[in-house]
């Protein structure tokens, strides 16, 4: 949890960076979300955009600003933040295929030791992650919640193509590639459903601080889902619904 002493102020041109140390617990994540919302509301007309990362809230101002003029308002917003009146976060269950063809990197990491690979994947599937923020690529979610002992370092040389849908591990962060892209993270499975629809004005359903759990699907189910998306037909896995 945070108090106003935990925040520092820097700038990047017309962007105010409100820095803090990352704490991966649900209450802290939630606090940052509530503060982000409050600041966005507070500076509404002056802002072009705002984002969060693991350790910052970033306010993109339309015009030049003086940090000394903004700072008192930010500190006051933190002081009076009504943190208790918040809704519980949602839980999303996402399908993932961990067939061998989608877990090559984890196989490499454990030198093909099937027992250790399976134990790792089983533990991964038992975990509950939190969406911390979107970044890197349009619709790329950064998930927190991988225990540090499960961390796998980024590849020394990034892969030329990490496949769309790849669920991947970079250090103790987890991400899902929304498109084919060069990538240095270790792929542990493939999630066939898109998390965002950019043809909509609100493309995302999963919000920062929401919880995410993966469940295993077979290669046959994986192909069914892809075919359903391709043919624009329905499939129970395509539109995940939130659990409380």
């Amino acid at each position: 949890m945070y108090t106003k002493q935990d925040f520092n102020f820097t700038t990047l041109g017309r962007t105010l960076i409100l820095g803090f140390s990352y704490q991966h617990d649900e209450r802290s994540l939630h606090f940052i979300q509530v503060l982000w919302t409050a600041l966005t509301k507070q500076f509404n007309k002056q802002l072009e955009d705002s984002t969060t990362t693991f350790n910052s809230i970033n306010l993109f101002f339309k015009e030049d600003f003086q940090i000394e003029q903004i700072k008192p308002t930010v500190l006051k917003t933190i002081d009076v933040l009504d943190f208790k009146k918040t809704n519980p976060t949602k839980l999303w269950k996402l399908p993932v295929c961990t067939n061998e063809q989608y877990t090559v990197d984890v196989h490499d990491f454990f030198n093909g030791d099937i027992q250790r690979i399976n134990a790792y994947i089983d533990r991964f599937l038992s975990l509950e992650f939190h969406l911390v923020f979107y970044g890197f690529l349009p619709g790329f979610p950064y998930l927190g919640g991988l225990p540090i002992e499960m961390a796998i370092p980024r590849k020394a040389t990034p892969s030329r193509i990490t496949q769309k849908g790849s669920v991947a591990i970079g250090g103790d962060q987890v991400g899902i590639y929304p498109q084919d892209s060069p990538g240095g993270w270790n792929v542990i499975g493939n999630c066939p459903i898109p998390l965002m629809d950019f043809t909509k004005s609100s493309p995302n359903r999963i919000e920062p601080a929401d919880r995410i759990q993966f469940f295993k699907i077979s290669t046959a189910e994986y192909s069914e889902v892809l075919a359903a998306i391709e043919n624009n037909t329905d499939h129970p896995y395509i539109n995940p619904y939130p659990h409380d």
Partner: protein, 288 residues
Amino acid sequence: MIEVIDAGFYSSIQDQGRVGYRHLGVPISGAMDQKAFDLAHQLLGKTSDFSCIECTLIGPILRFHEPCSLVLTGAHMQAWVNESPIQNNISIAILPGDVLKLRRATKGLRTYIKINQAIISPVVLGSTSFYKPLTQDAVLKKGNHIFWIKSEKVINKSNARIRWDDSYLLSNDLAVEKGPEFNTLSIAARQQIFQKDFLINSQNRMGYRISSPFSMDAVPMLSGAVRPGTVQITPSGTLLIAGVDGQVSGGYPRIFQLTEEGLNVLVQKKEGDTISFKSLDTLPQKEL
């Protein structure tokens, strides 16, 4: 309608950009050179639409099937309407059948073609700016047809009172503010970085790569916010300057932020050009 006879090296439709979607990881896109983009709109008078064609290095050859006015801003390219050479920053009347031919850039890198009509192009998240895979295409292609909304009232205002200054196309000085991680540079490098010239290795709309001798120990840090003009340094000393299609977050130390003026200078530079960084504090004050 505009028929693309030859698309040139890298031509795309760009407008004001996708403002307000960075929190979903969506870059702002839009025109790389905001100064030239704004000037084009000022010169043609008010239009309801901001879409224009951004051309890079070698411009396109376009046949116009309907009348309109157009203006070229930004980089100076070899340019003709039919066989007559034309100049930047002047409104030009186009008749049906006219062919606009842009070839090699002679000063700067990116030229903007703006017509006084509202271009029709698919809108994704409030913007027509090409950015794959959000939009189907990254660039215009030979044979493309660009349509526009026929408006009865064509504002054909050649605004002679607008003053413009293209001297930035010849500048190599990038005005910068120090970034949040400037002090990760060694004390010696903090001085030297303002004294040296740097060579541009490669560039595209995502950003510029520039090599420097300032290799450093890897600084473990979590990804932070990046905006167009943010300068990050990799452990091997490569300077990465984000463009408008660049990632919205990055994990290398952010040593500088280019000013808007500095960014406009940079985006007109090509591979092989040199640049230098000028601290805002040491630049002569602008006349007010």
